[in-house]
Symmetry: C2
Subunit: 259 residues, 2 copies
């Protein structure tokens, strides 16, 4: 009966920046027709699931509910929800609305003087003062969490600093290793499996980036499908020690009757 | 006839934060009486030499001219002055007044779109936008310079991010190694020797931090004097492979008749 669910990356797999990838919409429609589950799993912590679902519907012809979106913001909040007891839920956040809302929804409160956790994600309004508060709190004993290690993200001018670059600053200034949540770490995958109620052998991870999407699938013991519509190139992936389970140039190549 | 000049570190050696170290003032007065040269060599790029000299005079009983101050800002500007031709002097700076003034004084102009150099130093007003411009410029081919690698500096609340932490963000987001100027690198020492017109065997480097002050002296082949008034402890320094030339608990122990 094949895979019960598909975990699918967003940028590079489902769309490229603002450009639609039509094969991705057809791929999603097939999954929906077969009544399998879908979860879009993304390292972007800045957006809310509502925003992501609305963008997919409005701009990329993909009609899914916000419950089908799993961001590194949600994964961070779900991980901390497991990890934290109810008396210690003060968090200092470097991040945007997606991350802040996810933490508030899980019963965390914001505190900049004496937090239990410092969470660092992408924040296009980050300042020295925010870094100062994060560093002081981690040096003072707060648990240090990074949403994801991505060094860059694309914008209209080029490759600008990603969440991982902000994490590096705090890491160097505190000499502490953060707990990292996003792909290629397995935490986000485990949290997404928990949410969807399946085990890793029932799901295939679909993405364009070997070093994040595919590595995350491999790290959690999941089958993987790489699509060469984005960042990774077949010539480079073929050199990796552990290959993706499946490789396609476009998601149209995927034969649902076989999986 | 002994050493012709003394290179002396500031914080931890000459004063501790706002607290005067009286032995340092006596040490400087002896050097002045003997008509030897003095250069205060500091990794702080945020202040102008005028400010540093004024602070020494007003608060620490040390009467020196601004020409006796050599900051990593001046060293960066002097290094780039040697390195850059006159047609390519556009620089994008993450830094404060000390660094900006030093670069302007050496004929550099500020440019955020297409600079030849990106210089990253401590900037307590740094923002995501500044990091974005620095990262885009380095990725676009600008030469990447870091004033100094210090991970932290002390303020009234604790150890906050230092210049090196800001450099790390840009390094991770560009995957480029910067040219580092400040202690323990030898560039600042070579520039200071150039300025004072002496060679490394004519000067002794005086400081409290083995890993910056003393390492810089060692790296440039200079004799070194560690004073245990600041960061490094004798018990740790004694474990190093290369010991300082001289070790004292206070600068009052230094016997000028022997050196």
């Amino acid at each position: 009966m094949g895979y019960q669910a598909y975990f699918i990356d967003l940028d590079g797999t489902t769309y490229k920046g603002t450009t639609t990838i039509p094969a991705a919409a057809r791929f999603v429609q097939q999954i929906q027709k077969l009544d399998k589950k879908i979860m879009f799993v993304t390292n972007n912590s800045t957006r809310t699931p509502e925003f992501v679902a609305d963008n997919l519907k409005t701009n990329h012809n993909i009609d899914v509910d916000q419950s089908n979106i799993y961001t590194t913001a949600l994964a961070t909040a779900d991980y901390l929800d497991q990890y934290a007891d109810h008396q210690h839920r003060k968090v200092y956040v470097i991040g945007e609305i997606g991350l802040k809302n996810a933490l508030l929804a899980n019963g965390f409160t914001f505190d900049e003087d004496n937090p239990d956790y410092v969470v660092v994600g992408l924040d296009s309004d980050v300042t020295y003062h925010k870094f100062e508060l994060a560093v002081l709190a981690v040096r003072n004993g707060a648990t240090f969490i990074g949403t994801n290690a991505d060094s860059n993200l694309p914008n209209e001018r080029g490759m600008v600093p990603g969440a991982g670059s902000l994490v590096k600053l705090v890491e160097y200034a505190t000499q502490r290793q953060p707990i990292m949540i996003g792909k290629p770490e397995k935490i986000i995958m485990q949290m997404a499996l928990n949410k969807i109620g399946l085990t890793q052998n029932q799901v295939v991870m679909v993405g364009d980036n070997y070093h994040t999407d595919i590595a995350a699938g491999i790290n959690v013991g999941m089958d993987t499908l790489i699509v060469y519509s984005g960042l990774s190139k077949r010539i480079d992936v073929e050199k990796e020690k552990i290959l993706p389970t499946y490789q396609v140039d476009t998601l149209d190549e995927w034969d649902f009757s076989k999986h």
